[in-house]
């Protein structure tokens, strides 16, 4: 998998989080993982179609999700309800859209399939033999992951 994919998603996540919740995520070491899975509390899956095909998984811990929703809305919550999960899904959708705009600069034309939100552990069925890349990101309000499973479809 190419560095452009990871860099585009990292830059998009950094820009969106800085703008929306005034937090700058720092990237950790990339890990190669067997499939698209994560045991964090809130997972948002985005499908990618077009010149690149695959899935992106955003995985957030509960406390970080609630803290972001608090920064955005001013509301304190103790559980991830439909309001919080929908806000998280939309944020991941915006990050994904911005990442695809960045990827267009490398001549990849892609679209996003609307987000699916999973509260609780997430595991998808393996699509094929491709491995995914897990990008851990740390912030002052918690650590989250972006797992990228993309292959060229040109």
């Amino acid at each position: 998998m190419k560095a452009e994919y990871v860099n585009s998603f990292y830059k998009a996540a950094k820009d969106v989080l800085q703008l929306m919740v005034d937090i700058e995520p720092q990237r950790g070491d990339l890990k190669l993982v067997e499939d698209l899975a994560n045991n964090k509390d809130a997972n948002v899956e985005l499908g990618v179609i077009g010149d690149l095909k695959g899935k992106i998984l955003f995985s957030f811990p509960k406390n970080m999700t609630l803290e972001m929703v608090k920064i955005l809305s001013g509301m304190e919550m103790d559980k991830i309800d439909n309001f919080a999960s929908s806000a998280l899904g939309e944020m991941a959708n915006i990050i994904g859209g911005n990442a695809l705009t960045l990827l267009a600069q490398y001549n990849y034309t892609c679209d996003i399939v609307p987000p699916q939100i999973y509260i609780g552990e997430y595991k998808s069925y393996p699509i094929d033999d491709n491995k995914a890349l897990l990008l851990p990101l740390s912030t002052p309000i918690g650590e989250f992951d972006i797992t990228i499973l993309l292959k060229e479809n040109k």
Partner: protein, 92 residues
């Protein structure tokens, strides 16, 4: 929902007219963002018409609306201000 639908149309039309007036270079991208948003609102109008107003769906709509608006105003709308400033605030 009627307020949302009407207000969105009036506000977006006014904003797009202003952008056209100042020859804003990103007008088309901005119009596309407005169109996508209207589509999103209409999707929920249809859901509420079909399912009635249930709490889960209202929360879902609220979460999406809040996030979209913060991003749109904080990013795309700010760029209009930056453009006007870059022209010395004297755009005719």
């Amino acid at each position: 929902m009627a307020f949302m639908k009407d207000y969105v149309i009036v506000h977006f039309n006014e904003e797009e007219a202003y952008q056209a007036e100042i020859n804003y270079p990103e007008l088309e991208a901005h119009k596309k963002a407005h169109e996508d948003f209207k589509e999103g609102i209409n999707k929920y109008v249809k859901i509420f018409e079909e399912e009635g107003f249930n709490e889960d769906r209202i929360q879902e709509f609220g979460g999406k609306l809040m996030t979209w608006l913060i991003m749109h105003v904080g990013n795309m709308d700010q760029k209009i201000g930056e453009y006007v400033k870059s022209k010395g605030g004297q755009i005719q």
